[in-house]
């Protein structure tokens, strides 16, 4: 059962993305205001959704579960780390697509739009987590450290969000630089949008599972090394 699910997940998610792209590029109509540029709505919001909510949320929840004594398990540590790694990828993609979307409309590659800024900061938080993970340490210590860091970051995100939004509203006067990019959605466009969310979420899940498997294998490998080291250590005493 598990194997069937695994084997299906990859192809299915890729297929869904392909359908989304096809629908988005060819079938759905262009927007009255933005023309063909609106087609990015089938990619950017879904990417942002995965990066900000799915990836980060998963990392935060798994970290909490790891820290809670009753549910403590290295599984959650590995899941959190995998979620963050894949989340970084999605965050970068969100920023790139957001930038591409903004360029023709705003004329610049970057603007301090509240959402883009929050996303950029989130990216830095993710990278901080990964930097912490790379510090050599005993697995349980590292797991606890990273889980705590993830929790601190998670708690900061809403504060950051509100700060940045309020910070931005100070300049709401300049509507040329900050138009509402969300076009009116209806009919086929709405379905495609929904599909894009599902598709990218599935891709995320697929990637996280793959990364998780990799991490599990790596740690199992290290456990074998430990058993061997134990034997070697004991033989030191035999003279």
């Amino acid at each position: 059962m598990r194997h069937t699910l695994d084997k299906l997940l990859g192809p299915v998610s890729v297929a869904l993305v392909a359908i989304t792209v096809w629908l988005g590029l060819f079938v759905t109509p262009p927007d009255a205001q933005q023309g063909d540029l609106v087609r990015l709505v089938y990619i950017h919001p879904a990417l942002a959704w995965v990066a900000l909510y799915v990836a980060f949320g998963m990392a935060a929840v798994c970290s909490l579960l790891y820290l809670w004594p009753r549910t403590r398990s290295m599984v959650f540590d590995r899941l959190a780390a995998s979620a963050v790694e894949v989340g970084v990828v999605f965050t970068v993609l969100t920023l790139i697509t957001g930038s591409i979307w903004g360029r023709p409309t705003w004329g610049v590659w970057w603007t301090w739009d509240a959402r883009l800024t929050s996303t950029a900061l989130l990216g830095v938080l993710f990278i901080g987590y990964l930097a912490l993970r790379r510090v050599p340490a005993e697995p349980h210590i590292r797991a606890r450290r990273c889980a705590v860091a993830a929790l601190f970051a998670a708690v900061d995100v809403p504060i950051v969000h509100f700060s940045v939004v309020w910070w931005q509203t100070l300049h709401q006067g300049a509507t040329v630089l900050n138009p509402n990019l969300t076009p009116t959605i209806h009919g086929l466009m709405a379905w495609t949008l929904l599909l894009s969310f599902v598709a990218f979420t599935l891709v995320f899940v697929w990637m996280v599972i793959a990364r998780y498997r990799l991490e599990t294998l790596r740690e199992e490998g290290e456990d074998v090394e430990l058993a061997e080291a134990l034997v070697a250590r004991r033989s030191e005493g035999v003279s």
Binding site: L67, L121, V124, L125, I127, G128, A131, L132, V135, P136, A137, E138, I141, R144, R145, V148, A149, L151, F152, A153, V155, D156, I159, V160, F162, S163, V164, W166, W167, L170
Partner: protein
Amino acid sequence: MWRDAMLVAERDLRIEMRSKVALWQVVPFAILVLLLFAFALGPGPALLKESAPGLFWLALLFSSVLAAQRSLAIEGSDATRESTRLMGLDPAGIFLGKTLALTGELIALEIVLMAGVILLFHVVVGTWWLLVASLLVAALGLSAVSVLYGSLAGGARMRATLLPVLVLPILAPVLIAGARCFASAMANGPGLGGRWLSVLCVFAAVYLVLGIVLYGPMEES
């Protein structure tokens, strides 16, 4: 918990007074940052005055990362940290004590920086209570985060370069809120300052609570 906190705070402050690192290293660094900002943005007084809130808070943020590393260094070598664990102090108390001590140092730093900014950038403050409140609350929040992350990265050999990367993104809201508070305080009326002050309060409260709850589990091995 409070007993241990006072004990630890007293220890940290006493060690700091003996070694005077904050006095001779952190404060000069902060002043230096202000000077460098002036060099970077040009001598035009209008621009400097307008940028003063942001520059003040940037200088404070960078210096407080230094102060955080100092607070961690007070813990001493690995052996000293080990023997502190053996002493049986309440971890929440240790966290509170270190945070309080660091808050005191940061407030002293803020006073120096404020004097610098008023002198060098010709800042005029209209609403003093807002400014003072924001400085106090922010110092508390900055300290709590610094002590927490110091413990997190503590023992990690890459501590010196890792700490800023971890801490500064978390402190971004403090920078935004603090600078806006300062700007409001410079204006004629408090304006939106209250809202930003509440952000600082929430930040400080959240990380104080997190620290009290999590510092113990964090230090366990």
